[in-house]
């Protein structure tokens, strides 16, 4: 009997995590399946036979241009793999652009394509539904509102829930470490989560530090935790923090960098100030009030503004379809706005309670495990 082969492609770190969970579920459901593709450490650990390691290939905007030769080489190898090995199914995880090319190459060869974790069409570029309709046999989406977009675009779609909750529901939070982080009950702990991409950190962290300084001035008992989600970003985060501290010696800031302990940081916090992204769902899972911000260059805002197709940048607000946590898309350094909202959420008990209740409702809507298993079932359905 011929061995079934599945090709999976994920470029981003988050895609690697979800890809790894999907591989585990696929192998559990059908141990004879061989899984090849593009991924990172976690997917390899889960059993991926890696054609190319995609670490350090996640880039945005103009930085993509520098990576074109490398990406072209990877693409050529994938096409060769499609021709020689003829996988039964191609599964693409997010990473729009590059994955669209892979979808086209697979379609051309008559290989079915499943797209797991759609590009954020709800936020910008909804016209890309037409492209996906041509390139993809099945969309497997992770947000309830995405189902509507694809159904309207006449694309076969299944909503499976967010795979982040598979991980969160089984993750064991280090309570001892949480205790250590929030050591004094009388203090209020505010965590700063500047994102995982270097460009994003460079843009956002100086504003977050400035915000922290104003919050500390308003509520002197506040302490700050600065999250570094990846060890690779630690030197950058330390440099930015040290630069800020040495430039503001007259206003000392009680701030501690914590590396690769996002859940513990969130759990230990009274408030999170975070960059926009999936982390908002993680904060909502732990029912911690948050403020979401995204820094964009004025020229980029001018160019992108007419094409923004969502009223909310924060996923939590988008799911709730109302503003339950403060969010801001900044062109300028709006640290005063951030600090005012933060002070309000820290000192106004009623507002805090209201926010926590709304987060509980969001959690009840989306915070269930089982997304990876459902996605694996959809994938196997396509090859049987």
């Amino acid at each position: 009997m011929k061995t079934k082969k599945i090709f999976i492609s994920a470029g981003e770190a988050s895609g690697d995590l979800h890809g790894a969970n999907l591989i585990k579920e696929l192998s559990k459901k059908d141990p004879s399946i061989e899984i090849y593709g593009l991924g990172r450490d976690r997917m390899v650990e889960a059993g991926l036979r890696c054609i190319h390691d995609m670490s350090s290939r996640s880039v945005m905007w103009l930085h993509t241009l520098k990576k074109i030769p490398e990406l072209w080489e990877i693409f050529s190898d994938c096409r060769r793999f499609f021709d020689e090995e003829r996988p039964e199914l191609v599964i693409l995880i997010d990473y729009a652009g590059f994955n669209f090319y892979l979808a086209k190459a697979a379609k051309k060869r008559g290989i079915p394509v499943m797209y797991y974790i759609s590009p954020q069409l709800w936020a910008h570029g909804p016209w890309r539904v037409k492209k996906l309709k041509k390139l993809v046999d099945k969309m497997v989406v992770i947000y309830p509102f995405e189902e509507t977009i694809f159904t309207r675009g006449d694309v076969p779609v299944t909503y499976v829930g967010h795979p982040l909750f598979d991980d969160l529901c089984t993750r064991v939070v280090d309570k001892e470490f949480v205790e250590k982080l929030s050591h004094d009950e009388s203090d209020q702990v505010v965590s700063l989560l500047p994102g995982s991409r270097k460009q994003e950190i460079r843009r956002l962290l100086p504003i977050l530090l400035e915000t922290a300084s104003v919050i500390h001035k308003n509520i002197p008992t506040t302490r700050f935790l600065l999250s570094c989600s990846n060890k690779r970003n630690l030197p950058l985060i330390e440099t930015l923090r040290d630069d800020y501290i040495s430039a503001n010696k007259q206003r000392p800031l009680p701030i501690e960098i914590v590396t690769e302990r996002v859940s513990e940081i969130i759990e230990a916090s009274d408030l999170c100030i975070s960059s926009s992204g999936t982390v908002a769902l993680e904060i909502a899972f732990y029912r911690v009030p948050m403020i979401i911000c995204y820094r964009i260059a004025p020229t980029a805002y001018f160019i992108a503004k007419p094409f923004l197709s969502t009223s909310y940048v924060c996923l939590v607000n988008k799911i709730a379809e109302r503003m339950i946590v403060p969010e801001i898309l900044m062109c300028r350094d709006e640290y005063k706005w951030l600090a005012a909202r933060a002070t309000e959420l820290l000192s106004d008990k009623e507002k805090r309670e209201e926010c926590i209740k709304a987060l509980e409702r969001v959690k009840a809507t989306i915070g269930h495990p089982g997304a990876s298993a459902k996605a694996a079932r959809e994938a196997l359905g396509l090859i049987q």
């Binding site: 652009g97 979808a103 570029g125 016209w127 007419p306």
Partner: protein
Amino acid sequence: MILITVSIFSLLLTAVCYFFSRSILCIIFASIFIVSNTVLAHTLLYEQHAIIFFLLIAICVIFPVSCLISFLFDIMYGIFCIDTSFSLVIAWAFLPLLLPINLILVCLEN
């Protein structure tokens, strides 16, 4: 002088209409901007430096307009794998470039 004034105002109006998503007005003002600037560049350059004129038109008009047309086709029919919204960056970087070049040429002429 009229052409310079028309160019400046049509560029400003294009930007305002673009920002507030008034697409038809934006296309009308952008067309006025392109035509007035091309005519101005023709008046200032064509007779003595025809090659430079064509080169400028290729870079500042034909290239960005072609990108915008590709973007429009992509929105309508979803034909490219690449995210063509990058065409907007190209258009805003190259189209207005002809105006300062024309202004410099006018200053040099005077």
